[in-house]
Assembly symmetry: C2
Homo-oligomer: 189 residues x 2
């Protein structure tokens, strides 16, 4: 498969990139990677998909958010997660769904705080919740057999590389669509 | 109780306002209500809480989002929900938590599409998911016994007024905190 990995230089990105080395992997980052592109820019993402043809899968393992104690949070901090984790991933899907090969897949990233938040996590939690709900909704409208799922990991230090790799392979190679894959936790509320 | 109701002129707002008439209700809206205020403005919300003292509860029943078929959605449409439903409600909580009476409560609004989205709902779904996760996170950091919950209704035409009123009364009068109250659907995935 030809796979674009956005955020390959991050902790999760490194594990996933190493595990997928049998595939043709093209790394994308703002400042690093085979291709440099700012995925929050609609033009940049459109150009990315025009530049690299014949893509089977897009994996995004990147996305920042800012958080703090709630009483110290302000609008600018909430907007970091929207501008750097939520919108770029939506943007990847909106543009990429036109270009991906038939039966291709998108695998986005959210995080445990969206479902099981702790104190001081509001700036992360709301972004992760937004990504999960976006995936459940948008997966229903993917064209040409394309699938869309999201990996929701616990802290990287709390999860096993094997479990993580297996989850990404499941998203790439099985028929699952619209799923939230929880890594390192169960959402049993 | 002295209760601020934001969005009292909407379909849900009307039902709730009528049901709470035994209380001292102050309605707030951008263009209607006892007090006019744009709750997306940090200054306006801060002024609102300075102007009206001794508030026991804030209920928000308002918030717009834009949606369409996914292939027709663009950034501007996704941002409508952020600017008109997500951020204003976060803003209400951030400012109001400093002013509400001890043991007061916030009751926000999300919607079924956050958990059980259908085709064409991505622009609603992600906002509702964000609000749900924000509430679960932020409720853990409310000061002075203040509580924060969210009503997640199905379409107004599909829900009973009694069920809705009961849910709001539960948020006002019981000890629940950090809960998503589902109206007109069960989230059994």
């Amino acid at each position: 498969m030809k796979i674009l990995i956005v955020g390959a230089g991050g902790a999760i990105g490194k594990i996933v990139t190493a595990a997928l080395k049998e595939h043709e992997v093209i790394t994308v980052g703002r400042n690093t990677g085979t291709i440099m592109a700012d995925i929050s820019s609609e033009t940049a993402v459109e150009n990315l998909f025009k530049q690299v043809s014949n893509i089977d899968a897009v994996i995004c393992t990147a996305g920042d958010s800012a958080t703090d104690n709630l009483s110290a949070m302000n609008k600018a901090q909430f907007m970091v997660g929207i501008q750097q984790k939520l919108w770029p991933q939506i943007n990847l899907v909106l543009a990429g769904m036109q270009y991906l090969n038939d039966n291709g897949s998108f695998t986005l990233i959210s995080g445990k705080m969206g479902e099981l938040p702790v104190k001081g996590s509001s700036g992360k939690a709301f972004v992760n919740g937004a990504i999960n709900s976006f995936v459940m909704a948008a997966a229903q409208e993917m064209p040409r057999g394309i699938r869309l799922n999201v990996i929701s990991p616990s802290k990287v230090s709390d999860i096993g590389g094997d479990e993580l790799t297996e989850a990404y392979v499941r998203c790439l190679e099985t028929a699952i669509n619209g799923k939230i894959i929880r890594i390192g936790y169960n959402n049993k509320r």
